[in-house]
Symmetry: C3
Amino acid sequence: MSVYDRLKELGIVIPAAPLPVAAYVPAVVSGEYAFTAGQIPFVDGKVKYVGKVGAELAEEDGYASAQVCALNCLAVLQTALGDLDRVERILKVTVFVNSTPDFTKSPAVANGASEFFVNVFGENGKHARSAVGVSSLPLDAATEVEVIAKVHPA
Amino acid sequence: MSVYDRLKELGIVIPAAPLPVAAYVPAVVSGEYAFTAGQIPFVDGKVKYVGKVGAELAEEDGYASAQVCALNCLAVLQTALGDLDRVERILKVTVFVNSTPDFTKSPAVANGASEFFVNVFGENGKHARSAVGVSSLPLDAATEVEVIAKVHPA
Amino acid sequence: MSVYDRLKELGIVIPAAPLPVAAYVPAVVSGEYAFTAGQIPFVDGKVKYVGKVGAELAEEDGYASAQVCALNCLAVLQTALGDLDRVERILKVTVFVNSTPDFTKSPAVANGASEFFVNVFGENGKHARSAVGVSSLPLDAATEVEVIAKVHPA
């Protein structure tokens, strides 16, 4: 099944790829591997989830934020690859959570991204993952998600 | 020499691979590369080192914690690869240290992982490394360690 | 054009590769990929930018610090590769910023590294990037930068 059929089934529309906040590119493809830049929860050009999980934001907000970041990872991969069906496997996902020092549930937040990838790609969406609570993120975003993917040749 | 002989020599027993805390897999093998999920210091299903280095925990605790994380990286690599002798080289290690803002000795903590890999794999255990102090980690673990390894074909 | 001609044009002198602070190596080359250890802003064996961006240090200091870290990434790549013209592409850059919890401009700081790579390598210097604010860094360095590069065979 094409990933596009699956996205349709899930009612997911891939947004336009967010432009980098600065001097870099959204994703780079190198032979069999693609690397995304860290994605923050941009929706229509605005950061949707702002603030620290454990303070202004609840765990659920963090989960929703990580999901939007994961969607934006797909958006930049689509732009870089031309076709999301070229994604062979999501290999590694890193989820940085903008959190208070006493917040210990980054895995629950990071599941917003992990479950999204598994929903979209099934077995090929199962990845190794690190979840880390950090002291601050760009534009005070709640989460930042980056991906390394294995890709089929063009 | 097989890495298993070396582990025996060192008196190291590879534990059962810790199950992921959430919706991801412990390690992914892709062609010549293997990526582990971030490992925390689980021992027999419990996090052995809990809290922040520089506050509740001393540098030495952090070192011991990073060593356990590194051992768990081997456990998940063994499960993913079937055979640790397939590890050709430990390429990159990232050590996240749950630390206070004024703790500046993350390299000493991260050595718990680095020295472990060099002990086990010798020259092939020598890796590029980043050590970073972060504001919080899953389950309030003292450290989290992830690995990228080059691997021989099955 | 050789990258050395470009470095000359820019008036950039590659320093001696900083020695690791601890038990690891400055960079590892594996087939088509090279991984650097996280580099801090060492200049002549001393950390030049010390402290937190958003407190003791301004955004501009962070930018300058990230630039020095990027230069040190080139230094360790040169040592590992023998020749910087073997760098085919800078694929992924991660910039950790030692920052206060309310500092939200890590992308501006990280540009110190990103713009440096683009200046030196042109199109081949354009990379995917993550910028993250962390609670502490080795030796209280202001920034730490790590690189994954695609490399030509020796």
